[in-house]
């Protein structure tokens, strides 16, 4: 099955509602054929961005380009886009087949063409025997599958998915996530997925755009935004992050507790109080007696909780000097070596730590 793969570009898009800025000078390029996830917390403007691409919202400023043509003032039905909405959006008075065929009917396709195509697409989404059912006779997951088939029936240049899985239960969500990815890959249609679910974004997308307060914080592959976050927000929004108080002690030097870490400190002055952001899996843990060579260790802590998460386990470690406990993730097999009450040492590798720029000099409550 072949599809179209148009480039989509947003240039300096801004949008406000009642004088409140929702999109603030957003620039975004979506490559032809890729699946880009727009990820962010509620109210960050991600759905508005999608609606601007769709033509459901007119931006206050900036332009939208699809395959190089400016479509900013083009109506939604003239943009060649398909949308799957968060709310179930199947037409209640039509069967699944009629829903899928609706766009083709609008385009004047013959009855036989519509029927054949609808059957093909229902087969593609695994609902070949459900064509005669009305939406209310289908489960939520089935309805969203039909909605996907309906959106791709018109062979859109761009497919927009507005949190299509958020109303579904966890198991169906995971299953449908994989199906959407498979279908998108087979069709090769440029796809924009809006979601607040980081797992969904990281598992489905070729690239992820992380949004916050109407701005794009970082665009990169799932690996990049997870492993190399460029801002503290991205670091803390995606995955779990520990906040460890520290103090800049010199150029490229930060002390955390009484230890020294080699970190980029450009823009900071000696004496600045900072917070280090470190992911739980980027901290290694050893019994108190076992001090590794070549790494900086944080003072001794006490294990207060062990949580089995399947292949991975989380240990909660508290330090008298720190306001918050530190979470350490490690393979469950290794976690068996530790028990509640064990005294342990943690090792943070400098290359995995990031300074939270927003928290500079706000951590005076903690002795660095």
């Amino acid at each position: 099955m072949t599809g179209t793969s148009a480039d989509v570009t947003l240039r300096s898009i801004s949008k406000s509602y009642a004088r409140q800025s929702v999109l603030n000078d957003v620039d975004l390029s979506i490559r032809g054929g890729e699946l880009l996830a727009v990820l962010g917390p509620s109210g960050c403007g991600k759905t508005t961005a999608l609606r601007v691409i769709a033509g459901l919202e007119r931006p206050d400023g900036g332009t939208v380009h699809i395959d190089g043509s400016d479509v900013t003032h083009r109506r939604i039905d003239k943009r060649g886009i398909g949308i799957v909405f968060q709310a179930y959006s199947l037409f209640p008075h039509q069967t699944a087949t009629e829903n899928v065929a609706y766009g083709l009917r609008v385009r004047g396709a013959s009855r036989s063409r519509r029927t054949t195509r609808a059957a093909e697409l229902l087969a593609l989404v695994g609902l070949v025997d459900h064509g005669a059912k009305y939406p209310q006779q289908l489960s939520g997951g089935q309805q969203q599958r039909v909605a996907l088939a309906r959106a791709i029936a018109i062979e859109p240049r761009v497919l927009l998915l507005d949190e299509p899985l958020s109303a579904l239960d966890a198991q169906v969500r995971v299953q449908l996530r994989e199906e959407i990815r498979r279908i998108q890959y087979e069709m090769g249609t440029t796809t924009v997925l809006v979601t607040h679910d980081q797992e969904e974004a990281l598992s489905m997308a070729d690239r992820v755009a992380v949004m916050r307060a109407g701005r794009i914080e970082q665009v990169g592959t799932p690996h990049e935004v997870y492993r190399q976050p460029t801002t503290a927000f991205v670091s803390s929004f995606i995955g779990v992050v520990n906040r460890i108080p520290g103090r800049v002690t010199g150029a490229g030097q930060v002390s955390a507790l009484t230890q020294q870490l080699d970190l980029a400190t450009a823009g900071y002055s000696t004496g600045d109080l900072v917070e280090l952001l470190v992911r739980p899996e980027h901290i290694s843990i050893r019994p108190e007696s076992d001090r590794p060579a070549g790494a900086t260790t944080i003072d001794t802590g006490v294990v207060t909780a062990l949580t089995l998460r399947g292949a991975i386990s989380s240990l909660t470690v508290i330090f008298p000097e720190l306001p918050n406990p530190i979470r350490v993730d490690l393979p469950s097999r290794e976690a068996q070596l530790f028990e509640r009450g064990h005294r342990v040492r943690l090792t943070v590798h400098a290359e995995d730590a990031l300074i939270d720029t927003a928290a500079v000099n706000q951590t005076a409550r903690v002795a660095a």
């Binding site: 962010g40 917390p41 509620s42 109210g43 960050c44 403007g45 991600k46 759905t47 508005t48 769709a54 459901l56 109506r75 939604i76 039905d77 886009i81 398909g82 949308i83 909405f85 968060q86 709310a87 179930y88 959006s89 199947l90 037409f91 209640p92 008075h93 039509q94 609706y102 766009g103 609008v106 385009r107 009305y134 939406p135 209310q136 939520g140 309805q143 909605a147 309906r150 959106a151 018109i154 507005d162 949190e163 958020s166 109303a167 809006v194 607040h196």
Partner: protein, 273 residues
Amino acid sequence: MSGTSRIGTGSRSIVQGIVLVTAGLLFAVPLVASASFGFTLPEQGLSLEPIRDAVADSGFAPQVLQSLTLALLTIVASFALLIPTLVWLHLRARRWLPLAEALSVIPFVVPAVALVNGANLAFRVTTPGFLTSVYSLVPFYVILTLPLVYRALDAGLRAIDLRTLCMASASLGSGPVRTFFSIILPNLRAALLTAALLSFTMVLGEYVLATLLLHSTFPVFLVQIGQDRPRAAAGLSLITIVGTWLVLSALTGRGLSKHRTSLPRSPDLRTAS
């Protein structure tokens, strides 16, 4: 504790039963009385003679037709006025819906007599020909049925996720007109039937406006024959009530059952970011 609860439930059921029976009697007794009066003759007992006599009257057929036409025109005019307005309000100006709802109730608080007096004063002078046509009743009937039609349509629009359906339709290449006729109207089937039923029943029984504006409609005919043939009037009234009720219930039932088959599950309307 559970005993008290059982007693409470039992006495509540008795009260509910009494209320239902009383309401049923209030509704049924006049109908039974009409039937017994309209379908009997003093010497002959059960008879259709009074009805045959009334139906044979030269005024019967034209005035029934007149009222049916007026009912139909009222429904068409109400729908033409209210459906696009309500769809627009729901899609583009939801904040005005409470005001529109409040305005729609005004006909309930303006007595028909006051409406006719105002219409006489305004139109007899400015457009004398307007009120002489029987079809001049249509706008007044539209006003009269407005509260009921408004509520039926508004409830229908609230029952569907109108915005999402319109956006979905537009994203599939459908323009606003096609979306209106192919998506919105079919999903308002039950609401349209209810509104039509209410309008139809109201127009078929409306006497005050027609008589004050000196027009002959079926209710006016019924009152007129009731003055010298009360049994015929009673019989015809009963046939009208029961006939209208049966036909339109059948229509509504059919429409509702079809609508039920295609009703959506409650959509998840979580706030989008």
